[in-house]
Amino acid sequence: MLTSLYVEGRSWFHRLPVRAKLLALLVLSLALFATQSLYLLAPAFLLCGWLYFSLGLTFRQALARIGFLFFTILVLAAINLFLLPVAEVAALLLRLMALVLFAAAVTATTTIGAFMDEVTFLVKPFERLGLLRAADVSLALGLVLRFVPDIFARYEAIREAHRARGLPIRPLTIIGPLIILTLKDADTIAAAIDARGFRRQ
């Protein structure tokens, strides 16, 4: 999640505007899918790797963030070895890994606030058409990122309470109280948004 993956830093990539980074990610995605040449894909992979590993994370931290995705890509490549020529599998592998590295670099250098401002900017045209309110989209995104950890924490608390009372831990008996408590909190959160002058909800 963006909230937990941002890395404080002053690298040139940190200083780059969010819009430029997202645009670069889009262009890179299209470019990498437009070519099968290993002579292009291999340098792209190395370049993205250099970028990601130069952002101030230790090698261990950097690997921990992308390890699962890399593992998934490797499994995918291994399966494809039975179906496709080796060169094609290598291209697939390099392409996906380069994209993951670049996307991870964008995530590590973009604060959630900056990302939300950009989302607000991107949906502004829809606001002009009267389809939505840009600030609402930004707020919704912020609320998801803000409260998902709280919902996990509450899930754990309900599980603990079940365990403490010697009750069997079944997803269904936990999800019921979790939904009720979350909805109850939603009322207070809506009141808080009102109180902070966002607008009458």
Binding site: L2, T3, S4, Y6, E8, T111, I112, G113, M116, A135, L139, G142, L143, L145, R146, P149, D150, A153, D185, T188, I189, A191, A192, I193, D194, A195, R196, G197, F198, R199, R200
Partner: protein
């Protein structure tokens, strides 16, 4: 502050949460106490328009909480019983900036005012921290900073020392004492309201006592039977 309740009552369906009340609050430091369910939070929420009167009228510094609701929200900031609920953005500095962004202020002013609020409440070191990782005392200070940053003249604090340990309780109490804004504090923590200018006691939806802290607290003990 200039808060006026004119024959104001609140009902939720059949249940009367607050019986008709006519009252003027002019002091800078007001405290509200009462047993659970006595109507004190309803009373406080009437002040910034989060609850609308079923009958009668409430005005805050001359503004009607129904007709001028947006202006009243800007005039009276509210800090909730569980401040975690009012921190809406995932990162502390983003949350403090949230209210300013909604007012459409320029980016430079938002940054300067956010920085000033962080400094004022001594939470500059928390600026990049994730909101859900803050301790109770830190959460309360950040909640205050996020409300005060928009410049309300009155602050309503609903049980601000609830669930805080002794050190955090003292830190929050000292911060409230030092606030330039007028305050209305709802609390079960009697030590917190010992120094207020005027203390109100609510019981079963009625204003039971209204006066200096010592007298009102004595009456509260009688009501609570201890």
């Amino acid at each position: 502050m200039d808060i006026r309740f004119t024959d104001c009552s609140v009902s939720f369906g059949e249940r009367v949460a607050l019986h008709p009340l006519t009252l003027a609050l002019d002091e800078r430091r007001i405290g509200i106490i009462g047993l659970n369910g006595s109507g004190k939070t309803t009373f406080a929420r009437l002040i910034n328009g989060l609850v609308k009167p079923s009958k009668g009228r409430v005005t805050v510094n001359g503004l009607d909480t129904v007709k001028d609701d947006r202006a009243v929200l800007a005039e009276a900031g509210f800090i909730f019983q569980n401040p975690q609920h009012q921190l809406i953005m995932p990162i502390v500095s983003d949350d403090i900036a949230f209210g300013l962004k909604n007012r459409g202020l320029p980016a430079q002013e938002i940054a300067a005012r956010t920085e000033a609020a962080l400094t004022r409440f001594g939470v500059t070191h928390l600026a990049r921290r994730r909101v859900h990782e803050l301790s109770g005392g830190e959460t309360q200070l950040v909640a205050m900073a996020s409300v005060v940053v928009t410049g309300p003249k009155i602050l309503i604090l609903d049980e601000p020392t609830n669930q805080l340990d002794l050190r955090n309780r003292r830190m929050v109490a000292n911060t409230i004492d030092a606030l330039d804004e007028d305050t209305v504090v709802i609390t079960h923590d009697l030590e917190l309201v010992e120094g207020v200018e005027r203390l109100l006691l609510f019981h079963e939806g009625r204003l039971l006592a209204d006066g200096p802290p010592a007298e009102t607290i004595k009456r509260y003990h009688e009501v609570a039977g201890c």
